[in-house]
C-alpha cells in the first residue's frame, strides 16, 4: 500500500505556488522574479535555451537551493521535510551507484518515502509506470545503458505518486518507445490528479511538440531567468533561428 498524502488540495487551491523567485550566482542573475502557479492536475512544460534557468527553478521548487521569494507546495515550504514528502524529483543528471540492483534502488527510495513494496501489487501501485518500462529488477545498475538508468531514476521520482513531480529533461537518453511510455505515464498521472513541472530544452520541445501538446496543458518559456511566455503548448511559435538563446517567441496570456 502506498503512503497517503494527508494534505489534499481543495478544488481551487494552487498545488504549486512560485511567487517572485529570484536567484543569482554571484553577480549573475539566473532567475528574475519568476511567478508560476500550477493547479492540481496541471502538466506544465518549462522550456528555454541552455542557461535560461529551468534546472535552477526546479531545484528551488525541490528545496535544494537558496533563493529569494516564495515557493509553496500544498502550502508547505519545500525546504521542510514535510514539503519534500510532497515532491518527486528527477535531476537532469544522476549517476546511481553501479553496485546496487534496480530493485535495491527502488526499495531504498521507497523506504525513505515511507512507501511499502512488500507485495507485487504494492510495487505496481507504488511505481506507476507501464510494464516493461523498468529494466529487470535484479539487474545491477552498472550493467544498464544510459537510457535504462534514466528510466530507473524516473521511477524513483514517481515513487508513491507524489502530488507534485519535477522532471528535468526526462526524455534525455530515452528511445522513441520509452519516450512514448513516459508521455503515457504523464497522461495517467494527470488523470489521477497528479501535477508535473517538466523542464525541456527548446530543440527537444520542437521535435516532440505533437507528443507534448497532447500531454502538457501549459508551456512556460524562460529567457534569461524571466518568464516571457505562459500559455498553451500550441501557442509557442518557433522562430527561424530556433535553438539559439531566447530565440523562441510566444504570445503571453
Amino acid at each position: 500500500m502506498t503512503r497517503k498524502h494527508s494534505q489534499e488540495p481543495s478544488e481551487d487551491a494552487a498545488l504549486l505556488e512560485i511567487h517572485g523567485v529570484s536567484k543569482a550566482f554571484g553577480e549573475q542573475a539566473v532567475l528574475d522574479d519568476v511567478s508560476i502557479q500550477l493547479q492540481r492536475g496541471d502538466i506544465a512544460l518549462l522550456v528555454g535555451a541552455n542557461g535560461s534557468g529551468k534546472s535552477t527553478l526546479l531545484r528551488c521548487v525541490a528545496g535544494l537551493t537558496a533563493f529569494e521569494g516564495t515557493v509553496r507546495v500544498l502550502g508547505e515550504d519545500p525546504r521542510s521535510a514535510a514539503g519534500r514528502g510532497l515532491i518527486g524529483y528527477l535531476p537532469q543528471l544522476v549517476a546511481l551507484p553501479d553496485s546496487v540492483t534496480v530493485s535495491e534502488v527502488i526499495t531504498f527510495f521507497a523506504r525513505l518515502r515511507g512507501v511499502s513494496l512488500r507485495r507485487p501489487a504494492e510495487f505496481a501501485a507504488a511505481v506507476p509506470l507501464p510494464d516493461g518500462f523498468l529494466p529487470a529488477l535484479e539487474r545491477p545498475i552498472g550493467a544498464l545503458s544510459g537510457g535504462m538508468r534514466r528510466r530507473v531514476a524516473l521511477a524513483v521520482a514517481l515513487l508513491g505518486s507524489p502530488p507534485l513531480v519535477l522532471l528535468d529533461e526526462p526524455a534525455a537518453s530515452l528511445d522513441e518507445e520509452h519516450s512514448a511510455s513516459l508521455w503515457e505515464t504523464l497522461q495517467a498521472l494527470r488523470a489521477a490528479g497528479g501535477t508535473a513541472l517538466i523542464a525541456m530544452p527548446l530543440l527537444v520541445t520542437s521535435l516532440l511538440r505533437h507528443d507534448l501538446a497532447s500531454v502538457a496543458d501549459r508551456a512556460v518559456l524562460l529567457d534569461q531567468g524571466r518568464v516571457v511566455h505562459d500559455g498553451p503548448v500550441e501557442s509557442l511559435r518557433p522562430s527561424p533561428t530556433m535553438g539559439t538563446h531566447g530565440s523562441m517567441s510566444g504570445s503571453s496570456q
Binding site: 514528502g85 544522476v94 553496485s99 546496487v100 531504498f108
Partner: protein, 276 residues
C-alpha cells in the same frame, strides 16, 4: 529525528561500502596482518599475556590505530563528496528526511563497515589467542576492540565532515589522507621533537594526546589491555600519579566523544549551508 529514514540511509551506505574495493581490500589486509601479528607474537602473548604489552599486543594496538581509522576517514571523505559529484546527493536530499537524518545515516552505515572490518581482524586474532590466552587476556582483547570501535566512529565522522566541506571528491580524499598521516605520525614526531624544547611537560603531553584522536585511541587501548599505566613510561607515571588510570581513561573517551560530536556538527552545518 526520522529513525526509519536514518536506518534506511545507513543500510544503503553499508551496502555500498561493503561492495566497494576499499572496504573489501582493507578488511582482507587487516585480517591477514592481524593474524600474522598474532602468530608472530603468540610466544610473548603466551608468556606475558595481553597486559604484558609485548610485541604481539603492541602490533595489534598499532594495527587497530592505523588500518581501521584510515579506512574510516577515507570512506567518510568519499561519502557526501562522491554523492555530490554523481548528482546523487540532490536525489537523496529531496526525500522527506532532514539533512541531519541524512548525515547520521551516512555515519551509521560507514561505522558499520569499519566495525565489520575490525570484527574480522580481531575476530581472527581472538581465535588464535584462545589457545594461549587467559580470561584476563580475553577481557583485555575485548577492551582493545571496544577502543578500536570508538576510534573507528571518530575517524568516520571526521571523514564525513571533510566530505561535507571539500570542494571535490579528490580534495576530500587528499585532505583525509593528510589528516590521517598528521594524526598517526606527524603530531607524534612534532611533540617528541619540541616537548623538551618548549618545556611541554607531562600535562602538556596529555593535552596533546587528547587533541589527537588516534593517539588518544592508542593510550586508551594500552590502558584497556589491562596494562599498568607505568607501561607508558614517565608519561604513564604522571597519569598514574596525578589523574589516575580510571580518570585518564574517562578523559580519553570524553576526547573521542567530543571529536565525534564536533565532526557531526561540522558535517551537518556543511551539508545544510552548501548546495548539493
Amino acid at each position: 529525528m526520522n529513525l526509519a529514514a536514518v536506518f534506511a540511509v545507513a543500510g544503503w551506505e553499508l551496502r555500498l561500502a561493503v561492495r566497494g574495493r576499499l572496504v573489501m581490500g582493507t578488511a582482507i589486509t587487516f585480517t591477514v596482518v592481524c593474524v600474522l601479528a598474532t602468530l608472530l607474537g603468540l610466544r610473548t602473548l603466551s608468556d606475558l599475556g595481553l597486559a604484558g604489552i609485548g610485541p604481539g599486543t603492541g602490533a595489534l594496538i598499532n594495527l587497530a590505530i592505523l588500518f581501521p581509522p584510515l579506512m574510516g576517514i577515507m570512506l567518510g571523505a568519499n561519502s557526501l563528496s562522491s554523492a555530490r559529484e554523481r548528482s546523487l546527493l540532490p536525489l537523496m536530499l529531496v526525500q522527506p528526511l532532514s539533512r541531519l537524518d541524512h548525515v547520521c545515516g551516512v555515519v551509521l552505515g560507514l561505522v558499520g563497515a569499519v566495525w565489520l572490518t575490525i570484527g574480522f581482524g580481531f575476530g581472527a586474532s581472538a581465535l588464535l589467542l584462545a589457545s594461549v590466552a587467559g580470561t584476563a587476556d580475553i577481557a583485555g582483547l575485548l577492551a582493545i576492540v571496544g577502543s578500536a570501535l570508538g576510534v573507528g566512529v571518530v575517524s568516520v565522522t571526521i571523514g564525513v565532515a571533510i566530505s561535507a566541506l571539500a570542494g571535490s571528491r579528490l580534495q576530500a580524499l587528499g585532505l583525509s589522507m593528510g589528516l590521517w598521516f598528521l594524526f598517526a605520525f606527524a603530531i607524534d614526531l612534532v611533540l617528541a621533537g619540541v616537548a623538551a624544547a618548549v618545556h611541554l611537560g607531562p600535562f602538556g603531553l596529555f593535552i596533546g594526546v587528547l587533541l589527537n584522536p588516534l593517539e588518544a585511541g592508542r593510550i586508551l587501548m594500552v590502558l584497556a589491555s589491562g596494562a599498568d599505566a607505568l607501561t607508558l613510561g614517565p608519561f604513564g607515571a604522571y597519569l598514574n600519579n596525578t589523574v589516575g588510570t580510571t580518570a585518564a581513561t574517562l578523559a580519553v573517551w570524553a576526547s573521542l566523544a567530543t571529536w565525534t560530536a564536533l565532526s557531526l556538527l561540522v558535517a551537518w552545518m556543511g551539508i545544510t549551508r552548501r548546495e548539493p
